[in-house]
């Protein structure tokens, strides 16, 4: 079960990694206008 000593800290690091990604997305306003992006694909050009 020694692998736990690697895996559990790794999972903690992973959470921080995911949080960093979330921060990047939120800071760029990716969650602010969700409908418009969906409709952009229907544009004619």
């Amino acid at each position: 079960m020694d692998i736990l000593y690697l895996l559990i800290p790794l999972s903690v690091a992973l959470v921080f990694f995911v949080l960093a990604g979330l921060w990047w997305a939120i800071d760029r306003g990716q969650f602010e206008d969700i409908e418009a992006e969906g409709e952009r694909i229907l544009r004619e050009d």
Binding site: S11, V12, V15, L22, I26, F31, E35, E39, D45
Partner: protein, 801 residues
């Protein structure tokens, strides 16, 4: 007997006409040639930029401007506008939100000027207004982002901490080695740190503020529970042999933080989405004026630099920037939104005009006497705000009950800790924490907002915007509904009621000829004539013949009518006039209907009598509301006879015309004094104080921004039938809220004694807390299903009768 001044009057009868078509309609009957706004050039002065723009940090010479768009309906509009703006050289990037009607435009001051891209917007048929509140808006957006971020951190960490906690719940003692258990606790502790220091920060700062000001709020026991849970769990992690034992509660901790933040975040989102309408009010006054120079020339000037005593020139279709005195010129003004007067008022030298009202027909020179907060416009806004402050808030009631409850909870927690301390300190602290956690007013505090937010979401999807969540509380108790007439029971459009013609002219002929002039205009009267002409021609199968009739050389007589030349091959050319009785030398017909006349060079040909069209669904909606046991009433600023007529048409008995805004408010307060709970349905600025004074207020979608901003609900589709389903939904919401409150009360009543006696371990308290919250939220979610009520099929049926 009513002498009519056809053109401006209709604009007045329709205070709803605030879309992009209004300036056009006010400028007169001619559609062609909208000159570029002279005031746009003013925005090109660099000192004006900072009022609606921020310089870009990484991009020297670039500005980020905030703009409010008029005339936008949907995301497709946003895309059209983005394309149009991107095509302007010098515009770097464009972001437009279809939901808030706002946009951010980044442009380079080396290559372009605001007027250039604003004209690009106007060419698409929209209007861009500089958002003078850009800075508050930016601040609110940053706040919203931080909230999402706090919530995401809590959510991520909660999920992972749950994973680490699972083994502790699933295994028997001894199944996992002490070291592995310790490792899991350590991992939970690490992931709880960001939750404690970042996600919980708003609770701590609020609790700290409350402590300093010697208040008590829900945040205090919550913050206390958070800190104690975290400290006890931390001690359990790093000092398992210590006084508090080896028990950890990181899962309970992250979970209740997550639940609480979810509630807060949903509330914030609702608030932001609806705040946009309020800010649009700022754009009612004109942005620029023309000020007279000593040498007699006219200098374009920003309204912010206008001073008392300045003389300004106001063209037809423009709004007055301040209260003032007419020095020269003659015109008619539209004060409908400010005074409720639905007819145009003549203004000549020596008369006074008020800020926010519109000049309709002639050019006026006005000496400014009052500006800013001293204007009547500002006073009406202030009246409205004071009325809205005096509203009895449901929140106060909750607070009144919450306070003693919270004090009792904390005292009980303390007492139990003190009682058990001498025998077993760990047990004592855990009992206190269990009490704090189990009574964490999570379920209680979610009970009402969760149900109301679910309802607000469901209402929004069916086209009803909720401006104030507390109003949902009142909705269920409403027993009286007051309607305004203009724009509420009647639609924006007019309809042709009667046609009187000279003996040798047929009604169809007269309509065709009138249509040849009317088709060129967006004015409501012209539209009514053209729609009627088309309708009849289509029924007779001669639509093409009608389309071929097209008057030329149109010219407009301000406030009188329009004249044009009708050229048809094989016929004599005719000079046609369409307009007021005097303009057309027409006989005036009996009745108080609006009359528009047609004449040629030999004299009167025909008269058309127009009525405000009653909303097709109005009668059915009134019937449905009566069946719900509500008493209905009409209060209007319009003439009593017109009000009575409309009321009869929709089947209402109780109608009162000729009311000033103050009288309306008094009538409303009289009803409230008798113990009635009153809902007000209206629009227009003059309804503002009444809307604010009512227990619940509704505004119809096309209403002016101010009325929208101050009403509790906005019927976005501009259809009355949404009113019925909203009231029904309000009753359902209160049922669910009551269930939720009863459940949380029962849960607390059952759990607090258990926790106090020490039978409830903290983990069970946390689980109970989470489950009770979950139950409350799930119960509330039942409200977010599609709103039963008036279905499309029923609407068609309603319209049929």
């Amino acid at each position: 007997m009513t002498q009519v001044n056809v053109l401006p009057e209709i604009v007045l009868a329709n205070p709803n006409m605030q879309g992009p078509s209004v300036p056009m309609a006010m400028r007169g009957l001619l559609l062609e040639a909208t000159p570029p706004e002279p005031g746009l050039a003013l925005l090109d002065e660099p000192q004006e930029w900072s009022s609606f723009s921020l310089p870009e940090k990484n991009n020297v010479g670039c500005w980020r401007s905030s703009v409010v768009f008029e005339g936008m309906h949907c995301a497709a509009c946003a895309i059209t506008l983005e394309d149009a703006l991107r095509a302007v050289p010098g515009v770097k990037s464009v972001q437009i939100s279809g939901a808030s009607h706002r946009g951010q435009i980044v442009w380079s001051s080396d290559l372009t000027r605001p007027s250039q891209w604003m004209q690009a917007v106007e060419r698409q048929g929209y209007k861009a207004l500089p958002a003078n509140d850009a800075h508050t808006h930016a601040r609110r957006r940053a706040q919203a982002r931080r909230m999402v971020w706090r919530w995401s951190v809590a959510a991520m960490c909660m999920m992972q901490v749950m994973m680490y906690a699972t083994p502790a719940y699933l295994t028997q003692p001894g199944d996992i080695s002490q070291e592995a258990m310790h490792l899991l606790r350590w991992a939970s502790w690490v992931l709880s740190l960001p939750v404690l220091f970042f996600s919980c920060a708003p609770f701590f700062s609020q609790a700290w503020r409350d402590v300093r000001e010697r208040r008590i709020s829900m945040d205090l026991p919550v913050a206390l529970g958070m800190v104690v849970t975290f400290v006890v769990s931390t001690l359990g992690t790093f000092e398992p042999e210590g006084p508090f034992g080896a028990e950890v509660f990181f899962d309970s901790f992250t979970m209740f933080v997550f639940f609480l933040l979810t509630g807060r975040w949903l509330e914030l989102r609702m608030r932001d989405r609806t705040a946009g309408a309020l800010e649009a009010v700022l754009n009612r006054l004109p942005d620029h004026v023309r000020k007279r120079q000593p040498d007699g020339s006219w200098l374009p000037l920003s309204i912010r630099r206008l001073q008392m005593g300045d003389v300004i020139k106001v063209l037809p279709g423009e709004a007055f920037a301040g209260d003032g005195l007419v020095l020269s010129g003659q015109s008619q003004v539209d004060e409908a939104l400010l005074t409720g007067e639905s007819r145009p008022l003549a203004r000549e030298v020596g008369d006074r005009v008020i800020a926010g009202s519109h000049n309709l027909s002639g050019t006026l020179h006005v000496k400014i006497e009052q500006m800013g907060a001293a204007t009547r416009y500002a006073q009406i806004v202030a009246l409205m705000e004071s009325a809205s402050i005096s509203k009895p808030a449901m929140a106060q009631l909750v607070d009144r009950w919450a306070k003693p409850f919270l004090v009792a909870v904390m005292l009980a927690a303390l007492a139990s800790a003190i009682y058990a301390w001498p025998t077993d300190p760990a047990h004592a602290v855990m009992v206190a924490v269990a009490v704090l956690i189990v009574t964490c007013p999570c379920a209680l505090s979610l009970a009402t907002p969760a149900a109301m937010l679910a309802t607000a979401g469901a209402l929004a999807r069916s086209g009803v915007l909720v401006r104030r969540l507390n109003a949902l509380q009142n909705l269920a108790h409403i027993d009286t509904v007051i309607f305004d007439k203009t724009g509420t029971l009647t639609c924006d459009a007019l309809a042709v009621a009667h046609i009187h013609t000279r003996e040798d002219v047929s009604a169809a002929q007269a309509l065709d000829w009138a249509g040849s002039l009317a088709r060129h205009s967006l004015h409501p009267v012209s539209r009514a004539l053209w729609v009627e002409a088309r309708r009849r021609a289509e029924a007779a199968g001669r639509l093409e013949a009608l389309e071929a009739l097209d008057a030329q050389a149109l010219s407009e007589q301000a406030g009188q009518g329009v004249q044009g030349l009708l050229v048809r091959p094989g016929h004599v050319h005719r000079t046609l006039r369409l307009g007021s009785a005097a303009f057309c030398e027409a006989p005036v017909h009996a009745g108080d209907l609006l009359q528009v006349n047609l004449a040629d060079e030999f004299g009167w040909l025909a008269s058309f009598e127009l009525v405000e069209a009653v909303r097709p669904e109005a009668a059915a909606v009134m019937r449905a509301l009566s069946e719900m046991g509500l008493s209905l009433k009409v209060l209007s600023g319009d003439s009593p006879s017109a009000v009575a007529k409309v009321a009869r048409t929709v089947g209402l008995v109780d109608a009162q015309g000729g009311c000033s805004p103050r009288q309306k408010l008094q009538a409303l307060q009289a009803l409230q004094a008798q113990g009635h709970q009153v809902a007000m349905v209206g629009d227009g600025l003059n309804d503002g104080p009444v809307l604010a004074g009512a227990d619940v207020s509704f505004a119809l979608g096309q209403a002016v921004p101010l009325a929208q901003a101050k009403s509790d609900f906005v019927l976005m589709g501009g259809r009355l039938d949404a009113l019925v389903s909203t009231l029904q939904q309000g009753r359902r919401t209160m049922r669910i809220v009551k269930q939720n409150l009863v459940w949380s009360a029962v849960y607390n009543a059952a759990c607090i004694p258990l926790a106090l006696l020490g039978y409830l371990p903290a983990w069970a308290a946390g689980l109970g807390m989470a489950l009770s919250s979950l139950l409350v939220v799930l119960n509330a979610l039942r409200l977010s299903q599609a709103i039963p009520g008036v279905q499309p099929a029923q609407v068609a049926q309603l319209n049929g009768d």
